[in-house]
Symmetry: C2
Amino acid sequence: MLLDVKELYKKIDCLMNKEVTLQGWIKNHRKQKEFGFIDFSDGTCFKHVQLVYDNKLDSFDEIQKYHIGCAITVFGEVVESQGSGQNFEIRVKSIKLEGDCPEDYPMQPKRHSNEFLREQAYLRPRVNLFQAVFRVRSTAAYAIHKFFQDKGFVYFHAPLITSSDCEGAGEMFQVTTLDLDRIAENGSVDYGKDFFGKQANLTVSGQLEAETFALAYKKTYTFGPTFRAENSNTKTHANEFWMIEPEMAFCDLAGDMDVMEEMLKYIVQYVLDNCKDEMEFFDKFVEKGLLDKLNKLVKSKFTRISHHDVITILKNAKVKWEFQPAYGEDIAREHEKYITEYFSGPVFITDWPKDIKAFYMKLNPDGETVAAVDLEVPGAGELMGGSQREDDYEKLVNRMKEMGIEVDEWYLNLRKFGGCYHSGFGMGFERLLIYLTGVENIRDVIPYPRTPGNCDY
Amino acid sequence: MLLDVKELYKKIDCLMNKEVTLQGWIKNHRKQKEFGFIDFSDGTCFKHVQLVYDNKLDSFDEIQKYHIGCAITVFGEVVESQGSGQNFEIRVKSIKLEGDCPEDYPMQPKRHSNEFLREQAYLRPRVNLFQAVFRVRSTAAYAIHKFFQDKGFVYFHAPLITSSDCEGAGEMFQVTTLDLDRIAENGSVDYGKDFFGKQANLTVSGQLEAETFALAYKKTYTFGPTFRAENSNTKTHANEFWMIEPEMAFCDLAGDMDVMEEMLKYIVQYVLDNCKDEMEFFDKFVEKGLLDKLNKLVKSKFTRISHHDVITILKNAKVKWEFQPAYGEDIAREHEKYITEYFSGPVFITDWPKDIKAFYMKLNPDGETVAAVDLEVPGAGELMGGSQREDDYEKLVNRMKEMGIEVDEWYLNLRKFGGCYHSGFGMGFERLLIYLTGVENIRDVIPYPRTPGNCDY
């Protein structure tokens, strides 16, 4: 019976003493005079399988030559394990070499630095850490789709090439088919001859477009790539990353927070349930206490408190701040950390000073703050940001004038043509993965990360 | 009780004579002296709800003023319908106007041309046709994820900005942060100063990178945007579109076809099951016979036949061809159509002449054909294409030399480091949607399509 290792573990009780065929790769190979032991994995689950062969096999000498990394098809019998560490093993009857691997194969079974593995990005999903990271990435992505689809949200594909700029400020990548050498030669740029007849960029957010879907379907979400041409080389910045941007009509800031909280708990629980082995690995080798942290999150009630009241708490704290907390101003990392510890759990900070937030956020009756929210999570910092959107046409136009921002007419028209109170939020997918896995560098949760100066693969 | 229209229909048996609150939009408004009838929808399902109000309400005169397109919150009682066409209606107790809509609102309840609606792309999901199209888009996307996740495939996010070119031939969009005006001024281009230190483009396919995941996880799939800078203004070309690219290790061409067939049937059945109202609408108003076509597909057994044998059939056909079928050459639309009619169902055409296929396809023992497959579907033409990949290092290098193609070393190394026979395929998501909905123009199945000269929103 040909089957995946994942199925083998699932149905092991019915497969004992049965013959099976497996296909995968040699991860390690211990050779003895009369026996050989192959650590085998096919990538369908985190667990490996031990293959045992002995010198009664005609092909004993041949098999002993197989290197680490080889692709093989194994035919053998499932038997109770003689050794410790596993309940069963495969007694090999024959092995077919599907693809050889030289002895200088870089992914030898020893500890590699993440920096080295980043340089071998195309091979790193073969080692335990990244095998786990990218399966969690896949599982978390599915959890997000499942959460929203089960709730009736319509999945919206925002355009990637765009002529609008959501944030109003943008370090954006330009997209062009103009011949740059010819521009240099001619000494002039004619955007009329560019592919779209005008300047075009890669999107920094699908939110504005998502609002058009929220006002048609009530509930929508994006899940797609976004791009920022920021020249920052930090552990948390990549220039191409995936974002989730839900948007809900007839939803105020409180409703927005309800969805944020429910979504985060759902994803965490889904990953805990469906990636048990991977999560235990992270807990053991990447971030001690990870499972406790996540299990606690799922059971916690998120605090909701205004920016004003947060500043009051910070001011009253007997702490020597590097940055002095101030009403009307942003809060620093040290403040975020303090406040989640203060409440011993995730904190929604609401009603931010308007001058440090985006133009599209709804002005509160005080005229000074906007109905914005940041979610601060212990050990992750700001994990999501959202707001109720300004749905008053005049107020929106005034705010844009004040801030010197222009947007396309269609965005304003959404406030004229049956607009209603509506809210949404954004979550960087990689930021979530850093939180879920304990892996610290964003370069290690994206298969092929793009950062300044790096665009391999 | 506040609920979505979707829930209302689902639980209608328990809700009769109960009070409910609904939030959504006025789609039509018929006013009589003593009564008013509002055609109401909240976008959570295709079905609308009829609201009835009478002049016993204090707000009767006020409500009569509400225009088509207004956003409202309705409080009323679910009652058996007096009129025909629906089983229940809402007897209004009060309506709160959430957002007004002027009388010149473009989406009046009359027949609009698709061309007009394309110009109002941000409003078109509010009309029946596009409301249905983009919900089917969302549902089909989810079906794809569900299909692959249930089978243990790992979802892989291919990089969008890339320095490689999968097809070896590429009309690609360039991505840059260089200041074009400065290039014109300086008279020279220095890619060393570009964001990534070299020329970068938008990807045309994630396949090559997906192969790295297949050789680590056995089974992987991409589902993301891809870009082609083709200057073609046809009904089936867009410059930004979404692709699904599964890739499987230890999988030959036959196994590839198994997955293609199973996947397509799964998606079609899932959409038929989960978008009943939408699909009936398409069947009635967009493509007569659509449901028959799709139901037939799900039950059919796909034919598998070689390109050579297809040419023989075409040559023997008593048809006056515009293009003469020839061994060793591509087949035309008229041939595709004939062959699906000949077999009265979907046809996998396999083993194509190597010179009309990509460099990475596995050379067959005859030395003339490659293990490639196109799936031809009645009413859709070529819906997917796939191949077994060349896993022989030498043959791959030779073929690249013959074709004058260069790829990065990592791609070749996949054949050295435990490579194995593996296969994959690609499906354009919009092509699938055209097939599923009967809508003819790709511009009408993408929320904000990008075509030459068009990059609005």
